[in-house]
Every structure is written in C-alpha cells, then in structure tokens.
Subunit: 302 residues, 2 copies
C-alpha cells in the first residue's frame, strides 16, 4: 500500500441554496480516498455503523479503495448535518452525532504499516498520535480543525511537530498562528518541523510553503458551485494520491500534485455528496489540469 | 499623451496596526500616476487646494507625470481619514472632507483629448460621463465604489456600458452583480459591453475576464503589509501604464500588464502613503515579475 488515510466515513445531511440531501455518503476518509483513486490505490482506516449502506461500501471498493482497515461496529454511523448560506464560504454545523466514532480505536492492517504516505485527516490529535505510533510512513501529512486548536492544542502541537506536511484551512492557519497574514502563517507552520505546509483558501486557491520556495495557485473557476462539502479532503486526496503514484517529493512534483488536488476538488463541489466526482475519469482531470495551465499562464518577457 | 486618468489628489490621515501618518500624499490619481510612471508618461486630471504642498507637486513632476490637467483651486485639498484593523482587509473611513473636490469640474488640456488609454478612477459616475463627452480615448477603463453603486446606479450603469474595461473590487463586484460567485460576476460584468473585466481580490490576487478567455493571478506574497491604501489604484496604474507603453491589447499583453500592476501594488502596500514605491526602479519591477513567474509555475506533464 502506497497511500492510506485515517478519517471518517459519514452519512451527511446537507442543505445549500441549491438543494439538499439526507443521509448521503460523506466523511473525510471517503472524500480523500475517492479523490486519490484517480491516481493510485488507497487504504482507508475508519469505522462504520450497522446502518451504513452496503452499496456505499461496494461503490468505494469499485474505486480500487482498500477497505480492510474499515471496522464495522454495531450502532449508528457518524452523522454530520450542516448548511451553507448563499456565499458558500462557511459550513454551519447543525448537528454532529459521533455514534460509533466515539469508541473508535484505529486498527491498522499489517499491509498498511509500511505505507509510503499517510494522511491523518481531521480527527482528535490524540488519535492522530496513536496512529503515528503504529504506522511508520515515509511521509506523513496531517489536517486539523478549529475544534482541536481550541480544545487539544498540546497534542496538536506534537502532531504538527512530528509530521512532514500540514494541510490546513486559511481560517484555521490564522487561528493556530495567531496572525491574519497567511504568508506569515505559512512560515510559522513550516518552522515547526522544517516541513511542507499547504494552506487551503477555498475559492481563492492554495498557498504552498517549503524550505526556500513558495507556490501559489488560484482556484479553478467554478460557476456551478453546488455543495462545498468534502472540497478540502478531496484536495488532499488528489494531491497525495498523485504524489503516491509518482513516489517522488521534489518541489516540481509537489506543485503538479497540488494542481491535481485542486482539479479534483473543483469537480467535487459541482454536485452534492460525491456526485460531482463519481462519474469523472482520469481524462477529465487531465483536461482540467491543462486548462489550469492556460488560466495562470503569462509570458516571461515583461 | 498615451495615458491619462481623472481622479483625486488627497492628503490622507491613515492609521494601521503598524503606525500612522497625517496629511500624507494620497488620492487615486496620485497612486495611479506613480504606478504608471514605471512604464510610461501619464497625465493627471484633478484638483488640489492652496494647502497642497509644493514638494508633492515637484515629486509628481519628477516622475514624468504631466500635471497640466491639475487645477489649483482656492480652499482646502480633499482629505481622507481612515484606519485598518489587524486583518488589513477593509479600510474604515473615519472622515471624508471633499473640500475643493465638491466643486470639481474636470478640464481637459488639448493634448489629452486624443489619449490612447483613459482611466476613470473612482469618482461620481456623472463626472465620469462628463469626461467621456470630452475625451475620445482608444480604450477607456473605469473603477467605482459601493457609495456609487448604492447612490447613483443609473449613471454607473451607463458608464459601465460605455467603457472598454471595468476594474473593480471583489466586494463591489458582488454588490453590483447581486451574486457572491465571482466567476458569475465576471461574466455578468463582461456582458455589459462585451469588454474586459478585472476583479481585484486584495491578498487573493486578480481575476481577468475577456471574451472567451480567463486569467487568474494570485497576489504577490507580502509579509510586511504596512498600509493597503492605494493598492487598487496602483494596480490599475501599473496595468494600464504597461499597456500604454506597448500600445497593444492582446490577451497575452493584458496578462503581462496585470502582472506588472500586481507587482507595483505589492510594493505600495509595504509602506505608508507612497513610501513603498517612491524609491523603486524598473529593475525592482522586473525582478519581482520574474519571481511571480516562479511562484505560479508548474509543469505541463501531469
């Protein structure tokens, strides 16, 4: 296994100005894995309840995802209920039901322990640290959210100090670093471990900091934004999936991988739940990747 | 004269978390002209009061700016007083004293009437229309602000329908177009006259819409953001100054000009008033332009 993630599989109730869905397939591991599947095989570590539809598992398997790390627990699957206003920038959480997630204790199948790249999706930093005790990946990236920055900062600091890369939202980078300037945030975060830092800015794209270089990518222009849920995890999945496929971590490769992640995310937000990517092919990614180049191109002669 | 602008010359009181200045050189025409001066000569149309320091006029002249369209009126110069919070995104206007601007009636010197490019900075749309009666430029670009969108929409609609290009802030584009999606805004604005539309997003860069193509440029990374005043007008000045120098309006040239405008603006915000650009040379622009290419570059092989 070259790539694995520890995160959630969820049933989501989502309402946006463009419609709503109930009990739809969601969760960070789900979005990450589906996005990564355009480029490579990926193992998922997570837990589902007895109400999790078999068809969802069949769908994930059909995308070359390895589900041997998914625990089937008795009880209800993790449920998230949220809504978006017309500007779509901020998810408003209406309800979070942890259910089987509250007793989740990640078990790592033997074949996963020496994976190349591990993505610690947004879960309790103590769980992230537990996984880091059990898995020795070549490269590890971690995400987090405001809830843990406020509630478990000490463990989160330890996670950030131990991973090779941080993938984080702009608002959470500002909160963690206590400064509004994102360039300053990137420098602060990358000094934690001399590692790679990716700041996700939603409709405004991506900032990527590493050692001495800096990469800035605007977002792919999406006019038919229907449901932003999963955009961040899909970005991470597309980026790390592309990296895992090539097994190379040069600055040039990181940049290409980030464009791939942004491309996948641009498809995700054009439909509810996973509808925006489930019918997409590698050719769709390739085509939008090339369009991306056209969008940012300018000549070197001033 | 290849390039001219109609706008304000001001004395600004500005306070940011990094310091404050009182009675400092400011105004849309000032910033526009200084930014354009890196690339071409530029004529300014505006009015100053009897309190406007001679040294400011000498400074503007020293930058090859043609001040024959500046009226010296008796009374006080236009004054703007504003402050910025720690996040620097939004200027809070504390006081606006129109003074000599309240009676301003733009007079266009003969040599200006057939200029190549005219920039109508943010002034009353009725004044913008008056200028359009007197000047017949090859290309005309206009800016505006929330005050006119709310207070003189009818005249503003006429301005936008008559110019070749609109240069506007993201929040004002959203307000004018009544939609939060900036891609949709760009399309709505460019349909007004089948023209060019530039949406300024501050720290998030620029979106440029024209006919069938789309260009998106992130902002140059500025960590030492000291005073954002004048960033938008400097961007416009750098962009149109570079266009006027080359006298060509191809998509490729527009993109290069937008990068030049962004580069100049990135210097402006690193100092109070015009301090951030007054000592800069064309070599500084060239160097940051090339760094910009490095910042957005990625390979075409996915």
């Amino acid at each position: 296994m070259n790539l694995m993630t520890v995160g959630t599989l969820a049933l989501d109730d989502i309402k946006t100005p463009f419609g709503e869905v109930k009990g739809a397939l969601g969760g960070s591991a789900t979005y990450f894995g589906l996005a990564a599947s355009f480029f490579t095989e990926c193992g998922l570590i997570g837990v589902v309840g007895s109400d999790f539809p078999e068809e969802h598992l069949d769908f994930l398997k059909s995308k070359k995802l390895d589900l041997s790390g998914i625990e089937a627990a008795s009880g209800k699957t993790f449920r998230w209920s949220g809504s978006y206003e017309f500007d779509m920038n901020q998810a408003h959480t209406l309800k979070t039901e942890l259910n089987v997630l509250s007793e989740f204790n990640p078990k790592i199948p033997g074949g996963f322990r020496n994976c190349e790249i591990l993505f610690l999706a947004n879960i309790d930093p103590d769980l992230q640290l537990e996984v880091l005790e059990k898995v020795k990946p070549k490269y590890c990236f971690a995400d987090t959210m405001n809830f843990w920055i406020e509630g478990n900062r000490e463990s989160l600091d330890e996670v950030f100090g131990r991973v090779d890369g941080i993938i984080i939202n702009d608002s959470e980078a500002r909160q963690y670093c206590k400064t509004p300037n994102l360039i300053a945030c990137g420098k602060i975060l990358s000094r934690l471990n001399d590692g790679k830092v990716i700041i996700k800015k939603g409709e405004h794209g991506i900032l990527y900091f590493s050692e001495e270089r800096f990469f800035s990518l605007p977002a792919y222009p999406v006019e038919n934004l229907v449901d932003p849920t999963g955009a961040g995890d899909s970005f991470a999945g597309g980026t790390l999936g592309h990296l895992a496929k090539h097994g190379e971590f040069s600055d040039e490769m990181m940049r290409k991988s980030i464009v791939c992640g942004s491309t996948v995310a641009s498809y995700v937000v054009s439909g509810f739940s996973v509808d925006g990517i489930k019918v997409r092919t590698h050719e769709d990614i390739e085509s939008r990747y090339q369009h991306f180049r056209n969008i940012v191109a300018f000549d070197h002669n001033l």
